[in-house]
Symmetry: C2
Subunit: 458 residues, 2 copies
């Protein structure tokens, strides 16, 4: 291990520069105009994996963005780890709120600023560096490793499950290693053992066949913007935080006493929480702690809203259409398609006859909960502790990684969610950043985890 | 009169071409980028008024857009008519819905398509043509005429009242002639004797200091888009059409029996109304007729709505801010500042403490009702009847022309609202158009009205 750690020390700047090169590519999966960036980054990653000594590095075409894979399968009788990451990123807008260009990585102190710095280019590249260190110093890996990097995570991974199903034999493994989550706090290593699911939909309200003069028609013509506001307001009670869609809570499993105690044991400061995101007060279900509300409870949020005149000054228009993007975070045992259907039925049931309402279904994902006593999770905790010198917290996160449920369903294995991010990284926000120190330390945690996975557990 | 009518006949194409030249200038008053267009159109109109023989044609600078005036004051002992119009237009967006370019006037059959074709370049140019006909054929006008064309009507005429007050002596007159309204239907001359007022505001809801990941924070962080929808939904009962702002109806004068009978006498087809604007059903106060709802009743409408992600696909963002533009149409005796203050107080009273809410006040205007038995209105009706061979309808309109109340207050005179538009003109909408036939006939109505104004009434 010493040679390996010396190697990682010596390569700090090289690895950081290699990460920056990846961050410079605007691989935004939701925008068709970035298809060229996506393709060139996929090829760049393939070349890099080949260069560090991985076998069969390949760019797989899909109906959408390519999947990059590589393998090293020479550890006889040792288990197989499938490392998963994604090289696509969220859009950078609103651009005007970035203090440095989103695709020109900029280091300030310990923070590296760029879209994707934490989610997920920085975190997934940690493992690539660890593989490089093993292969460079030992000319071998302690276990069999397959690596799979996809380019559609931010748009719901539409082509990942088909890939897993079509390549089930290649994908088979003993555990999946994923770094796409956050630590509970700075210097507080954490392994995520629960993730909320997601149902994401879009509502379009169509009224008059054209924009109307609100003076001439106001009072008799249905106003899609007014009606949309009314429909959305009926989905959640903003005072109690309760989602009002009939049947929404039907399948919700309440936390066990043990899980509830674990959540309550986590340190939490309301003032620090409010300060970190600049809010005057928290909202939501008063009978649950803030941490429970964002990790163990389902929610309803409006993610986007539009209609009518958005420019400067006043325009007295009665808009022809209005729309909203909405999403619901789900917990065990809520199923995204069931919840999406309940939402759609509810919206149609409350929409007035004067307008046409269309509901579009976007990607969803099932919630997952993992067994924290499992062998891979315990070994990950051990590797974390060796590097950070602290016991690991086992947490549930509010975000969704739908593919974790897919790995379980298609490959039959649990995942190890070894997160190196922090909540202040600003995922999906302007000025996303990642701790350079955690990037460096993460490489050692990953290298040690692979070593532990090679040892037999009684 | 014969020579004058022959002149107008002979000049049809010339006048239409002159109007098209005016329509080609994108004089959008709400967009600072069109300031140059505004200025050049003002100078163009000044030159034109001078060329047809009006005296003292002048472009007056204001803190905003210029006001163009001219006069002809040689009719001793005759009354004075102040002709008002506006040369600014609404923005043309959404541009993609225009079938022909908004600033390249295009004639199809009887319709001339362009932004401002009806509102108000086409309608106000009618009177300029009538003045030209009088001066060209008789070398005089039958009455004293002052003409005032402003460039800020679509943004609430912020500099018109100061101009009227500073130039009260020049502006003094016996009546104001305005063509900025619609006829009740094709070939149905109408004079508007009532206009709704307007209170226009903007609501900004500010939550977190930055856009957040809706998975990580959803359930505890206040969502401005969700909260905005909730605030707006509390302003109007979308089932009954009742505005829910406390005190909103306090000052509403119900129609007199005579006024109500006049409204009920107007022909109305629900099917034709629905077809004309492509709606499945009307909404609003069931105890009032559709015509009453849009002309004699106050309303609340959302004119614009924005927040979060509006692009393609899905973005799981909990937005930092959301906003809406809202307006209320007012009837006698509601006052715009009083109603605007009631709205603001109500919004603040229902907004949760978790967010900051700012309310911005845009322009407003008072409602007006005119005495239809007055001499100028009866003379306008006579001129209309002579050209259209039909009795005039006296109607109330749902739109607002705040300056009509200002003329009454500052100059002490009523206005004659001699409308040549049609509801299907699509004011403020894509594909605005104006009837070429009504443009031609309007010139004769205007010329005859000036002649009638010169005759003494017993």
């Amino acid at each position: 291990m010493d040679a390996l750690i010396s190697y990682l020390d010596a390569k700090k700047e090289t690895h950081l520069e290699a990460l920056k090169e990846i961050l410079r590519v605007p691989s935004v999966s939701t925008s068709p105009e970035h298809k060229g960036d996506i393709d060139s980054l996929a090829e760049h990653l393939r070349t890099h994996l080949e260069a560090i000594g991985m076998d069969s590095a390949t760019v797989h075409k899909t109906p959408g963005n390519p999947i990059v894979t590589a393998e090293w399968l020479h550890a006889e009788d040792a288990p197989t780890v499938l490392i998963y990451g994604h090289y696509d990123v969220q859009p950078a807008d609103p651009l005007e709120l970035w203090e440095t260009p989103p695709f020109e990585p900029t280091q300030k102190g310990d923070r590296l600023y760029a879209r994707g710095a934490s989610d997920d280019k920085g975190q997934s590249f940690i493992h690539v560096c660890a593989l490089e260190a093993w292969l460079a110093t030992e000319q071998r890996l302690p276990v069999n490793v397959k690596i799979l990097l996809e380019g559609e995570e931010e748009i719901g991974s539409p082509n990942l499950v088909p890939f897993l199903e079509e390549n089930q034999s290649w994908c088979s493994c003993d555990t999946v290693l994923v770094s796409d989550t956050a630590m509970f706090g700075k210097d507080q290593p954490s392994i995520t053992v629960g993730l909320r699911g997601l149902a994401y939909l879009e509502v379009h309200v169509e009224g008059p066949s054209r924009d109307l003069h609100s003076g001439v028609y106001g009072g008799a013509a249905p106003n899609p913007a007014t009606i949309l506001s009314d429909l959305l307001s009926q989905c959640i009670d903003s005072k109690t935080g309760k989602v009002l869609i009939p049947g929404f809570y039907d399948d919700v499993l309440e936390l066990t006493n043990a899980e509830e105690e674990a959540v309550h044991a986590l340190p939490f400061s309301l003032d620090a929480y409010k300060d970190a995101i600049g809010i005057q007060d928290v909202v939501g279900e008063a009978e649950y702690t803030v941490h429970e509300r964002v990790s163990s409870r389902p929610t309803f949020d409006v993610n986007g809203l539009w209609g009518g005149y958005q420019g400067e000054g006043a325009k007295t228009v009665l808009p022809a259409t209005a729309g909203a993007k909405v999403s619901m975070r789900l917990v065990p045992n809520q199923e995204p398609t069931v919840i999406a259907d309940k939402f759609e039925s509810f919206i149609h049931s409350i929409a007035p006859d004067s307008v046409r309402v269309n509901v579009i279904h976007h990607h969803g994902g099932s919630p997952v909960v993992m067994d924290l006593t499992s062998d891979p999770i315990q070994k990950a905790a051990q590797a974390f502790k060796e590097v950070y010198q602290k016991d690991v917290f086992f947490t549930r996160e509010g975000g969704s990684i739908p593919i974790i449920a897919d790995f379980k369903r298609v490959l039959g294995v649990d995942s190890v969610l070894m997160g190196f991010g922090l909540n202040e990284d600003g995922l999906h926000s302007p000025n996303e950043s990642f701790s350079v120190e955690d990037f460096f330390r993460g490489r050692e945690v990953s290298a040690r985890f692979l070593a532990h996975m090679a040892t037999k557990t009684s």
